[in-house]
């Protein structure tokens, strides 16, 4: 089975946001980056499916030169090769542009299964995977917590895929689909593995195919302003040593909030 995993490089969780001068994007020179967490789960799921059913795992990413870091990390965890759509403008691109860019680079590969994280921890549109599915002519299902592939039916028209989709409030649903298909993967679907030293060494020799950004892709939205969100509540901050802060908090919860 030929599996693609789309990964995005996003700012780390510890990153403190700083804005550019026009306050329409972040100051990129301050940012340290990591692999988008749901994408890491998608990669892990792809590696597990390859271990079970054979085939190859191809990592696909659209972004500036810096995303090579997460591509190498994915290769070190076990992906076989990579496709990198490289362009400086892709770091701040919206879901339509990213999906079109990936689709152009991926369409001739004839993947059986494409996995993405359900959304990115940066812009968080939650759209790229599903738009990509449509552009690749595949059915999609989202927020997936289990993937079962029936290998006997291969990539024909029959229902070769059965996936567990998360619904709200603790509900789930199994859905059958033909292959090829695209799934957006929910965090927590599996336990992540980390790269071994051997994997890191092997990754250096693996192929990263560079693809160029197709001309004329149009964004579907524009960020006109970016700001630290305004507080909906007046938060009373309690300072002091741990013991003093604890004492004051307990007192306020008892006397002011009457919550204890």
């Amino acid at each position: 089975m030929k599996i693609a995993v789309c990964i995005k490089q996003v700012p780390t969780r510890e990153w403190q946001p700083r804005l550019n001068d026009s306050k329409t994007w972040i100051r990129e020179q301050d940012v340290s980056y990591e692999m988008n967490e749901p994408d890491a789960y998608a990669l892990e799921e792809a590696l597990r499916l390859r271990e079970k059913h054979g085939g190859e795992v191809v990592v696909c990413s659209a972004g500036p030169a810096r995303v090579q870091t997460v591509i190498r990390e994915a290769l070190a965890r076990g992906a076989d090769r990579a496709i990198h759509v490289e362009h400086d403008s892709l770091g701040a691109a919206d879901a339509f542009v990213i999906a079109e860019a990936l689709a152009a680079a991926m369409k001739d590969e004839k993947f059986d299964l494409v996995l993405t994280g359900l959304q990115s921890d940066d812009q968080g549109h939650g759209q790229t995977g599903v738009i990509l599915a449509e552009r690749l002519g595949m059915p999609s299902s989202t927020i997936i917590m289990d993937v079962q592939v029936d290998p006997s039916t291969g990539s024909g028209q029959v229902a070769a895929l059965r996936v567990k989709r998360e619904l709200e409030g603790g509900w789930f649903q199994w859905i059958a689909m033909p292959l090829p298909a695209l799934l957006t993967i929910q965090s927590g679907i599996n336990q992540l593995r980390y790269a071994t030293l051997k994997g890191i060494m092997a990754a250096k020799k693996k192929e990263i195919r560079k693809a160029s950004l197709p001309d004329g892709l149009q964004p579907a939205q524009q960020i006109v302003g970016l700001a630290v969100p305004t507080r909906s509540k007046q938060t009373q901050m309690i300072d002091g040593s741990p013991a003093a802060a604890a004492k004051e908090l307990v007192q306020r919860l008892r006397e002011e909030a009457r919550a204890l």
Partner: protein, 321 residues
Amino acid sequence: MILVIAEQRDGKLNRATWETIAAAQQLAGGMPIKVAVLGAATAAVAQEVASAAVAEVLVAEHAALEPYTPDAYAFASRSLIESASPTYVLLPHTYQTRDFAPLLAARLRKPLITDVTAISGTGTDAAFVRPMFQGKLAAQVKPVGGPPAIVTMQIGAFRADAAQKGGSAAVRKVDIQIDPGAVRQKPEAPFREAKQAVDLGQAERIVAVGRGIKSQENIPLAEKLAKAMDAEVAASRPICDNGWLPMERQIGSSGQTVAPKLYVALGISGAIQHLVGMKGSRTIVAINKDAEAPIFEVADYGIVGDLFEIAPALITELEKS
């Protein structure tokens, strides 16, 4: 014209639809609003939404719309949109919307703005506020290349009870054709993983832990604090994903929604998926080492510091009396 696509399952309206109607009324600026109901049997839901102050309720009934699939919903809503030519299409940002709205946008080649928390301006000049970077920043965005622009509203961001009622809007059936062979997903019946042993919705006090607790070995610290507060222990998603606490103790969009008297967030940064599950709590305490963590935006009391120092101090303080 603004088209609101209502959400229903088994003939029961999702209450978030009312929040979306309220958002549409705020956005309208004189534009008429219509509500579309999709499904196999929609009469009751259509009657219910017809009590809103809207111009018309459009009903698209087809056997292929029950149970829900993204292919059938994208197909039906596309044909509705192409015949009604709205300026905006509004939906609640539910898991169902997240499944089919991007497909709809991709097929229409029209903008989709998701998870909107506020609208500034009205009509075609409006800008939409949505969280980015895990809620650390709020972006004002405008659609490019509409109309229509499809916009999904974050659950809880608009008040359902703010939706204006107006008597009875006319209900009109709209013919749609769906080729069942073009629907590629075959869903089975929804199910719950395990019987919920704890009903956190009934808890008066909750101590919830997040990534800041660092490892499973530290969970007893949270349990000890909960005991001292006479509270239940709960967690944000990553903790349950790691198996440190059972899934049934998860608070947030994929877990339980709670509104206790007291909610103590211990090392929880406050990703929006968590906030939607707890921001209705009466008193919220946030303890986090990161002063910029979004959890402080909803907190009544905040302590910036190391939870491994503050939680033991709180336990000592609570056990004094």
